[in-house]
Symmetry: C2
Subunit: 326 residues, 2 copies
């Protein structure tokens, strides 16, 4: 029921998913049954199931409202069914704050994880790089940053099939001594972690692809992510300004419009679908409120991959052996 | 003597400056006289003067080295002459860390300013917006953020001739209650300051031009600035990748190469020249190490404008009346 185009886009994404030959799993649609059925064919595919819930977490609901007064919402109930083992993963295009809070509360954290965090891929000259934390937290302690590095490394290795990914700490200088208090204290923790830590990287290194995993606090990560998402808008506006300068220029821009669109498509979150909340004891994929059916389909497959590739089990093992080392 | 192409580019920039009909001032070149004269014509223009200094702050020198062991460097001596009133402004393409430390130490801070900060313009859909602090500090207290807002507002108003500029606090959400500890505490201070504070803005608002002045701590600002500077590199690399896909695509990209270059030129720091260290009791403009003669010329004019438009006097008055209000 979550998202700006719910349940239509969510249901359509699920339908597209089960029609994909790669789909070897079943989908449980949770929400108001009538609203869901309105977007399904009369003959519902055999691997789509529906379970009715009354309430809906609104996009504008506060976390407190979602937590305390909407225990029969689709989000709350679906997460409980995930916790209870009825489903192996959960995706939603709904209220992000509520998703993070309810996922953490209901699923719990993996042992040793202090703060669940959001990992999101950004484009770079060498392919996608994972930015973690992209906004699940605001103030991050050094130990949180070190855990973001470990979880991000495992997620990138297993999901992108990139062995021993390079992990960089986003900072204002390359030297170990540079940075704010949190990043200076995080450096030795990341150095000691069982990851391929390449040290500090700077803002300019993100899009160069210097690191496969970019570790930062959620405040910086959220700002970087939203800043990056706004690049295409500026680019388009520059092209329009240019086209407005005359007929010939308009013609050029018209001719290359498709090219430009294709080239900035990398920035499109829908290519990746959603972002995982890493560190919770379950698979929780958060989608953009305006997720298209295609984004939903990708999110469902991402959840399936997280299960198949044992992301959480690997994080659990790494955190446990890290704790026994300390 | 500072910068990757010193003194050649610096001297050339000064020559270009005095040849500009707008130049109604004199330039003092400070450094090793022989090296400077090698790039000047035999008949030195009447409004260019040279003063010899022996030492040079190297690009790799630590701040401590520059401070303690290079008191006869061009940077150290020029700042002393600025402090003593022999010159009204100072520019350098040299070691940024040393520039900030020596400027603060030798010139001192304006009354009421706790932390000098760097303001830099970024492109937006509505023209340049000032990002402050862009990296002079790492950990910023709420009172520092409020002062960045005041100094940035005055600088933008006077230098860009934009009356009552809109000041936004860079944050992870629009609501007053959102953010990390520092930004939550800075909100009421900015609200109470004698500026046009529009509240929190998000990463996506920077390039939209929602605010004329974007206030953030120097850690976030430095990362955002360097991230933005790397954007043209990714764009070029995407175009090359596209062109490599075949002759027709290569042709398209070739045809639009000029257009693209023109459109990403906005990102070029050389258009703006250098960045001011705001809050010191003087005019100190910091240039990129690789500054071209054109960037140097722009930096000299920027210093002149800062003097003419009474930026420091205005900051001093605002800080003083703010203090007496508190």
């Amino acid at each position: 029921m979550g998202g700006d185009f719910a349940p239509r886009n969510v249901v359509q994404g699920a339908l597209d998913c089960v029609r994909d030959p790669r789909c070897d799993f079943e989908i449980l649609l949770v929400g108001q049954e009538d609203a869901i059925r309105a977007h399904l064919p009369a003959a519902v595919p055999a691997n789509i199931h529906i379970r009715h819930t009354d309430e809906v977490v609104d996009m504008k609901d506060s976390v407190a409202t979602a937590l305390k007064t909407k225990k029969n919402s689709s989000m709350y109930r679906a997460l409980e069914w995930h916790r209870d083992g009825e489903v192996q993963g959960f995706i939603s295009a709904g209220n992000t704050g509520a998703m993070m809070a309810l996922s953490t509360l209901i699923l719990g954290r993996l042992p040793g994880v202090e703060r669940p965090s959001i990992g999101t891929f950004l484009p770079s000259q060498k392919g996608p790089v994972l930015l973690i934390d992209a906004g699940a937290n605001v103030d991050s302690k050094p130990s949180h940053l070190a855990q973001f590095g470990m979880m991000g490394s495992i997620y990138t290795e297993l999901m992108m099939k990139r062995p021993s990914p390079k992990v960089g700490l986003l900072n204002v200088g390359e030297e170990e001594s540079k940075g704010n208090d949190a990043s200076i204290a995080a450096w030795p923790l990341l150095k000691a972690a069982p990851i391929h830590f390449i040290g500090n990287i700077e803002g300019r290194d993100i899009l160069k692809g210097t690191a496969d995993v970019v570790v930062c606090d959620g405040f910086t990560g959220n700002i970087i992510l939203k800043f990056a998402e706004s690049f295409p808008g500026l680019l388009k506006s520059k092209f329009y300004d240019y086209a407005a300068q005359g007929f010939v220029k308009k013609l050029w821009v018209g001719l290359i419009a498709g090219t430009i669109k294709k080239m900035i498509k990398d920035w499109d979150y829908q290519e990746y679908g959603g972002v995982p909340l890493l560190g919770v004891n379950g698979v929780s994929i958060i989608g953009h409120g305006s997720s298209t059916p295609r984004a939903i389909t990708n999110m469902i497959f991402a959840a399936k991959h997280m299960v198949d590739r044992r992301v959480n089990e690997t994080i659990r093992e790494a955190m446990t052996s890290q704790q026994s080392t300390n």
